[in-house]
Symmetry: C2
Subunit: 311 residues, 2 copies
């Protein structure tokens, strides 16, 4: 079977399934809508962490050991910047810097974030389209027991240590879906919309906060399927479970499923959570931990198969 597939993704966790989808789908079939709520300006550079993670992962440039950033990375810049008294809390790899400098230069020359991202993914030989949720700025801010923190300050500088009270996506109300996002949802060949196993609150909610996005998901004829980022009450990576507990939510696949209730047709959980049942929602269980490329491709095929059955 063929047709178009949309995946909504944040960084690391989502990019794993995005890579699996990219490998099992034909070139041009996959459109990945990337969270840009984590985007920020640092040292005068426009940094798009989730777009970069997707680009590096799909181009095979990601660091499989560290789990973030580029492989074969060096750190001379950050060391030299610290020596000069510059702001060096955000570790910028020397190779990674290239994408920030090139993006910043192109944006300053008048290109949209969509155009820059499209040029980069083509240059890197990536088959999937990678599209920012919006070309306008949306900034995830974390309300903590230490007050409001910009996302990267919470995530990197404070290592997710402050207790989370709430979240806010500044600018989301005024943002418009990137043109390619609207086009992807309007495509009659659309056969599946997949919410990747990213943090629902930090990575998927900012995408859903862009006006029109929820309506696009609700209105599309293709099945909408989410994959749980929580396995047996644990997050595979990152602060999802900790943050859920702080927000007074039980860290479980069920909580995530209920978070997406009304928006998705089906929910994929790990075999460890196979017992889950929610009225009006198809639940499918399969191994969801993605270690190898084979794991990623297998899960991608599973989700696409589920979509085909639901169609």
């Amino acid at each position: 079977m063929s047709g178009q597939v949309i995946a909504l993704s944040g960084g690391i966790g989502g990019a794993k399934l995005a890579l699996g989808l990219d490998r099992v789908l034909a070139p041009g079939e996959l459109t990945i809508i990337a969270n840009t709520g984590d985007d920020f300006r640092h040292l005068g550079l426009h940094i798009s962490p989730d777009i970069d993670t997707l680009l590096y992962t799909l181009a095979g440039l990601d660091d499989p050991v560290k789990g973030w950033g580029r492989r074969d990375e060096t750190w001379t810049f950050t060391r030299a910047l610290a020596e000069l008294g510059g702001e060096a809390w955000f570790q910028l790899g020397d190779g990674d810097l290239a994408i920030h400098v090139e993006r910043t230069r192109r944006l300053a020359a008048g290109e949209t974030l969509s155009q820059v991202t499209e040029a980069l993914r083509r240059r890197l030989g990536i088959g999937a389209r990678i599209v920012p949720m919006s070309d306008e700025p949306v900034a995830t801010r974390v309300h903590t027991d230490e007050g409001w923190l910009d996302f990267q300050h919470y995530f990197v500088r404070r290592r997710c240590e402050p207790r989370v009270v709430g979240l806010d996506f500044a600018g989301a109300g005024e943002a418009r879906m990137a043109p390619e996002v609207a086009a992807a949802f309007a495509d009659p060949a659309l056969r599946a919309v997949i919410l990747c196993p990213s943090n629902p609150y930090l990575s998927v909610d900012p995408i859903l906060a862009v006006p029109g996005m929820r309506a696009a998901l609700a209105g599309c004829a293709a099945p909408v399927i989410a994959v749980s980022p929580i396995i047996a009450g644990q997050a595979v990576k990152g602060p999802t479970a900790k943050m859920m507990a702080e927000l007074g939510l039980e860290p479980s696949a069920e909580t995530v499923a209920r978070h997406y209730e009304g928006l998705i047709d089906a929910f994929v959980v790990d075999e460890a959570d196979a017992g889950l049942a929610i009225a009006g929602m198809q639940i499918a269980a399969t191994p969801t931990l993605m270690r190898s490329l084979a794991d990623k491709q297998r899960l991608a095929r599973f989700v696409l198969g589920l979509a085909a059955r639901l169609a």
Copy 2:
């Protein structure tokens, strides 16, 4: 003896004598006026090659083998940028990038180039003040048989290969001396002004093109002494001799001395050029090739001794 000393300097050649002067003078006695005609924006970054060479050289961060840039440098950024299709003809070392990013950030925040440079030299523990000739942009442009080229395009991209017909310092007419430049010339404790052995046409002339600079040299009570960058008809480094020939000038210490006629009280040549005599100009010969730090300090002491005798 004590008192203030001003040195006019470009990059590599001038920085060698500047380092010698810095080491033999007491902290706070030396003000180096740096050429900024080579400054340019590249990839959205403000690059000041001669200021950086001075900072690296005086901080002991310079690469003694390569002769430019930083020691212990890595090149991951430039490789990654080429991979992304970015403009990678200007080799930016990973550590070197830090100074461009930090400078660009501070300038965008409203600091002057003088303020940024002062902060950097203090941070790097440099005793000498390093002052741009002007806080306003002056751009050296090279008129060649291929047309007008921006300096870095001529120097780096085209490796000084085009034949030079003329030079122009765009913006020099409107530029004002940086405040610390004027202050240094007005200091009653000024005991010497030294034109370092930099390229007279590419590195010293842009400084002299800033309105008021020639008058400041002519009007100051302290002796003005130039050191020849040409030894026995050869440039120690760089395109000086080639360019002189292309401009129809004999590449010789005498040609340089005559270029500075009326502006300097004395001219220091290498022993190889000891025979030189010019009416109305004191000529002093000494070994001027600076390989070791000892060479640099010895030449610095020689020039300062000459200034003391002329005072």
